[in-house]
């Protein structure tokens, strides 16, 4: 068991710069920032009775179209509120930055802004293409396509956009013709998307639709996979080997799909230690380790976790209380090791400028010298915090690469959890 008390105390008046020699270094006067944005404000006033009336009608329509008319409180929210509720970015409605995604293979990232545009930043290049489309509103999630240099999937309010941005082009405003619009009736707003690791399939989820859509992007066709219960699908995550897909719902249950024949099993939220013990007996992949970690530590107020690709640093974004003064959101970083035993050691807190709270974070997919954590702050800045370390595997043990490779061997024969315990 671990608690946050064993962490070195965070330095409140300084910004974290990097990790070296196993400690986090901060500076009182931070240097240049790569990104600043003026938050845009939009205000439209609508008569209250009209807003309430249309929200009720919309909720009724959603209940009717939701399979078996399940009663779920999240269906009464408006589209924007729903996106804000289920988005990975904290305080999505007010944030200048709506979403962020690193490219899995090269040094470029895409960031969605408050004005519904997307900018792509590349290292070693001053050209920053801006992507705008009339259907691109309320962007909730971005993800680059794996095994591709140019495709970016954008989860918008009413549809999915797939941008094909030529990496060698110097144009700053790619035309709308570069984007494919994928939509399905009843499947909006889309709050989560996930490409399969092979790049062949894109899965999208919406909190109002109990079916998640599996898209064949080039053919622009979708296969809906519908399961009763849950009231919608809010979060999707593929395992790195592509054999499992996690689908979370707004209620206390989530599903794990196996991707060979696309069958699923329900995992109700674990309560009590008996199920935790069962989990320990399984041979678990990296993907399932995350699940175990959350329930071992019983952290209920975290909002996001991110694991670096080498498996050595784990960052947890702990949501603060916006009402309390001294309870801001913070990022806690753990050092992890998965062999010979799974170890989790505290490393420190990542702090930003005074008054800035972290909203979103993501590790760079392939930083050569350790790990690089990118944090989006509430003041519209994006900072990159490097963690310099040598990978534990290079010092003599099994390299993480080999460990991962052995884990990926023949997962089609791995039974799902329920089959193994019965």
């Amino acid at each position: 068991m671990c608690s946050l008390g064993v962490f070195p105390a965070p330095v409140t008046a300084a910004q974290t710069l990097l990790e070296r020699n196993n400690e986090l270094l901060s500076a009182l006067h931070p240097g240049e920032h790569p990104q600043t944005h003026e938050p845009l404000s939009a205000c439209v006033s609508v008569p209250r009775f009209l807003a309430v009336g249309s929200a009720c009608v919309l909720a009724l329509l959603r209940w009717a179209s939701s399979f078996h008319g399940s009663l779920f409180p999240h269906l009464t929210l408006s589209s924007d509120e729903m996106v804000a509720e289920f988005s990975q970015m904290l305080d999505w409605s007010d944030s200048a930055l709506r979403s962020f995604a690193w490219h899995p293979h090269t040094d470029k990232f895409a960031v969605a802004l408050l004005d519904d545009s997307i900018r792509i930043y590349k290292s070693n290049s001053s050209a920053t293409p801006t992507l705008k489309h009339r259907c691109q509103r309320s962007v909730c999630a971005l993800q680059w396509k794996p095994l591709c240099g140019s495709a970016l999937a954008v989860a918008c309010q009413s549809c999915l956009l797939i941008w094909h941005v030529d990496p060698t082009s110097l144009s700053t405003r790619p035309s709308s013709g570069c984007a494919q619009v994928l939509s399905h009736p009843g499947h909006s707003p889309i709050t989560s998307i996930a490409w399969s690791p092979t790049g062949s399939l894109l899965v999208s989820a919406s909190p109002v639709d109990t079916a998640m859509m599996v898209w064949d992007v080039a053919a622009e066709s979708a296969v809906p996979l519908q399961r009763v219960g849950g009231g919608g699908v809010t979060y999707l995550s593929w395992s790195p080997d592509g054999s499992r897909l996690l689908a979370a719902t707004p209620s206390a249950l989530f599903r794990v799909w196996e991707t060979r024949m696309w069958t699923c099993e329900r995992w109700p939220c674990l309560k009590g230690s008996c199920q935790v013990r069962k989990l320990r007996k399984l041979s678990i992949t990296v993907f399932e380790l995350m699940y175990a970690f959350i329930y071992f530590f019983k952290l209920t107020f975290f909002s996001q976790t991110s694991w670096d690709p080498r498996g050595e640093r784990l960052a947890v974004l702990l949501k603060g209380d916006s009402q309390a003064v001294n309870h801001p959101s913070v990022i806690a970083v753990f050092k992890t090791r998965s062999s010979p035993v799974f170890e989790l050691l505290p490393c420190g807190f990542v702090m930003g400028e005074a008054g800035a709270e972290p909203r979103f974070m993501q590790f760079h997919p392939h930083f050569q010298h350790g790990a690089l954590l990118t944090v989006c702050w509430s003041d519209g800045r994006i900072s990159h915090v490097p963690f310099y370390f040598s990978s534990a595997g290079l010092l003599g043990g099994d390299s993480p690469q080999q460990a991962l490779a052995s884990n990926t061997a023949d997962h089609s024969s791995n039974k799902l959890y329920t089959e193994q315990i019965s």
Binding site: H103, H105, T106, L147, C148, G149, S150, P167, T168, S196, T198, G199, S200, L201, V214, D216, V217, A218, A219, E220, S221, V223, P224, L225, Q226, G242, S243, T259, R260, M261, W262, T263, A405, A409, D410, H411, S412
Partner: protein, 574 residues
């Protein structure tokens, strides 16, 4: 039959797999018939204000002998429909080049027989439906007036006749749409699912399509009957035709009719495209014809080839043990027979597509020859669409759209399986666009339609390329004997050459235009986007190999311009 004489073993496996699946789908359709008939009975006797009477009417009707007889007739109809599915199904969509070609297809004797049989079946089903509805629809003749001598004269029951003729009209329109929308085109799905969940997932779409199609047909037939029907009162007037009860019963009968046919088509598609696992190497000589490499080389029965390519893609993605079998050496001798056969087949598929693309581009470049080529491709496509079994000498590989999906299998089956992107799809869209009147100022149907035709075979190709690239990528860590490395230069150059041909193809006019979105229809229109899927899958295949091998690719012996192209992939600049 030609193929029977040439390859009795391949015919045997065809029977074992495809015919058996078709029979299973017909059996399921027949089993579903009582369910749909019961729903129809419930809806036809629907009475909002007398629910008890409604329920009791329905239960008594379901047990009546007339209903049982109708069910027997409907079973016969389903059997004939299933037989036609088996006879007419195609893995390569037929894309007519122009209106004249479409007219030619529609007036073809085979199609005429098909339409005639469907008209008859439509009338039979509607007769059963009208008998079930009862009331004023149940008999053809009704006593209408009495003559002076007191005899009862039988008049024609116009309502019954109306329903019967509507059945014939719906049967003919179903047959006609089957040609236009390529309803008999069978494509493979992007993801594998068990049959029951897939059926459950498709059922709402099928019901929606049948309702919409029934309403359209009812509207069209009512208009047709009003203008051309030479009938006595009361249907000869607009108010007579707009009788709500009549239209309601016509609509639900039409829905029942279309639902029966669409369910048969859906079940056939689901059963035939289910993944079949071929043994990679057979232990017994009599089973040798059923092994994966042999079936991949199959030239006669396209569906078996497609199933083999789908299996290849799946094994390359998911099955370590079968991949190891592919990479294994033969005992004794130490030859990599499995890999050589599989890679040779896939590479030939891909290079065949490359040749077709290059030939097409040459033809387009010199406009004059385009027409003659299209004619030949038309005949080829016509013959290919007629039956998946007809042996064709120059059958380009058709990669079912699903093939691309399945190609996910990492198996290096990079057999450059010709991405045969559904060239046909590009063609099909121009063809359909022509039908709706958009004129192509370029050379006629040949130019734009060529694209779909060339790409029609596409689905096979990208499943083949996907499978191949995945196998190659997997061999990086799993190939113990190095069987793949010797063929790696061939694979890479084949993929790069095909990619260049595809890129050049996309520079042609109309090739990069997206097809128009069609409304809900039972016709599978994935063939229209095959060329895009092919290009995407080809790029993913190359990326898979470059990301797996990384800098090791510099040691592979390939030509400099191919190396430059691969360098772009290594740097993610493509």
């Amino acid at each position: 039959m030609k193929c029977a004489c040439a390859r009795p073993d391949s015919h045997l496996i065809y029977f074992q797999v495809v015919i058996w699946r078709a029979v299973a789908s017909i059996a399921w359709s027949v089993l579903l018939l009582p369910v749909t008939a019961a729903v129809f009975v419930l809806l036809s006797r629907f009475s909002l204000f007398h629910p008890i009477q409604w329920i009791s009417d329905c239960t008594s009707l379901l047990a009546a002998s007339s209903t049982v007889f109708s069910l027997v007739v409907l079973c016969g109809v389903v059997l004939i429909t299933g037989f036609f599915n088996l006879e007419f199904y195609t893995l390569v969509p037929a894309i007519p080049c122009s209106r004249m070609a479409l007219l030619g297809t529609v007036l073809h004797p085979r199609q005429c027989v098909h339409s005639l049989v469907y008209c008859t079946m439509g009338m039979l089903v509607m007769w059963c439906a009208s008998v079930t509805i009862g009331g004023r629809y149940s008999t053809l003749g009704t006593p209408c007036r009495q003559s002076e001598s007191g005899e009862v004269v039988t008049c024609l029951n116009e309502y019954h006749l109306f329903i019967l003729l509507a059945g014939a009209f719906m049967g003919y329109s179903h047959s006609f749409l089957g040609v236009v929308q390529n309803m008999y085109y069978v494509s493979f799905q992007p993801i594998q699912q068990y049959k029951y969940p897939r059926f459950k997932g498709c059922l709402p779409m099928v019901v929606k399509c049948s309702v919409i199609q029934a309403l359209y047909s009812a509207r069209n037939f009512a208009a047709f009957y009003f203008f051309f029907g030479n009938s006595i009162q009361p249907l000869d007037s607009l108010t007579g035709l707009l009788d709500f009860s009549l239209l309601y019963h016509l609509s639900i009968s039409g829905t029942f009719l279309y639902l029966t046919w669409y369910l048969t088509v859906l079940l056939f598609r689901i059963c035939v495209t289910e993944a079949y696992s071929f043994p990679v190497q057979s232990t017994f000589t009599e089973d040798a014809e059923q092994s994966l490499p042999k079936v991949l080389a199959e030239k006669n029965t396209l569906v078996m080839k497609f199933l083999a390519l789908q299996d290849l893609a799946l094994l390359s993605h998911h099955s370590l043990s079968r991949r190891l079998e592919v990479f294994s050496l033969s005992q004794p001798g130490g030859h990599a027979h499995n890999w050589n056969a599989i890679s040779r087949e896939c590479l030939s598929l891909l290079s065949e597509l490359t040749q077709r693309l290059v030939a097409h581009q040459d033809a387009v470049a010199s406009n004059g020859r385009v027409k003659s080529q299209s004619a030949s491709s038309d005949t080829r496509s016509a013959s290919s669409s007629s039956s998946g079994k007809t042996p064709r000498l120059s059958v380009p590989l058709r990669t079912p759209g699903s093939v691309f999906k399945s190609s996910v299998g990492g198996a290096n089956n990079a057999l450059t399986a010709p991405f045969t992107p559904d060239v046909n799809s590009p063609f099909s869209s121009p063809a359909i666009r022509r039908l709706v009147g958009q004129q192509d100022r370029q050379s006629p149907c040949f130019g734009t339609e060529q694209s779909p035709h060339i790409m029609r075979r596409g689905p096979k190709l990208w499943s083949a390329s996907t499978g191949l690239s995945h196998l190659v990528a997997a061999s990086f860590s799993e190939d113990q004997f190095g069987v793949v490395q010797t063929t790696l230069p061939n694979v890479l150059s084949c993929l790069v050459v095909l990619l260049e041909a595809v890129d050049r193809h996309f520079k042609l006019p109309h090739a990069s235009s997206k097809p128009v979105r069609t409304i809900c229809s039972m016709g599978d229109s994935t063939y229209k986007t095959l060329r895009f899927a092919l290009r995407a899958a080809l790029k993913t295949a190359i990326y898979k190999i470059t990301t797996t091998f990384g800098e090791h690719l510099n040691a592979v012996n390939i030509s400099t311009e191919h190396r430059k192209r691969l360098q772009q992939f290594l740097e993610f600049k493509d």
